[in-house]
Amino acid sequence: MRSHLFLLVLFAMFVSLVFAVIARDNAREQIKLGGLMFAGFLASAIVLSWLMYPFPL
């Protein structure tokens, strides 16, 4: 479990799951909101990582 991407996906999955279950009562809406949040987490992480790419540490 040392892959950054795998841990990022795992983290996004847990957070999206809990937020979706808290925010919606209907299973279909929970899946929709959870999927959107999960995709948003992944997309924003990948976009941010590419934006940081030109800046060396």
Partner: protein, 130 residues
């Protein structure tokens, strides 16, 4: 205006509900009959916390001289009994040399904070706001 016995009983039950919901993730929702939600929280939050420990994250001590450490400890504490079980079994020492140390901390802290949100949600459900 004095509180009636019924009001006091209700507020006592609410406090008990919140303590149960904090101590065991999902217990508040299970108590209120929201079985599916309760089961999701009961599985997901301790699992997230356990992954944080497996990634060699640290259970931060309540060190008020370092405000960020104290805040992290407060967030860790949000997971309830799981925190004490893990600490009692000797987990959560943290290994700052591990590549996954910061990831572990993120999992531990966020699991605790999510459980606090779950407690607030259970409180809202109990009051009939949801």
């Amino acid at each position: 205006m004095r509180a009636t016995a019924a009001d006091e009983t209700q507020s006592g039950a609410l406090v008990l509900l919140c303590v149960a919901a904090w101590a065991i993730p999902g217990a508040g929702h299970l108590w209120l009959g929201r079985r599916n939600k309760g089961l999701v929280f009961l599985i997901a939050l301790p699992l997230m916390f356990a992954i944080g420990l497996a990634l060699r994250g640290r259970l931060f001590p309540f060190d008020l001289s370092d405000p960020l450490v104290a805040l992290a400890a407060l967030a860790d504490f949000g997971i309830g009994l799981t925190y004490f079980i893990a600490a009692g079994l000797g987990y959560g020492a943290g290994d700052v040399r591990a590549v996954t140390y910061e990831y572990g901390n993120a999992f531990l802290i966020v699991a605790g904070l999510l459980n606090v949100l779950v407690v607030i949600d259970a409180y809202d459900v109990a009051l009939g706001r949801k």
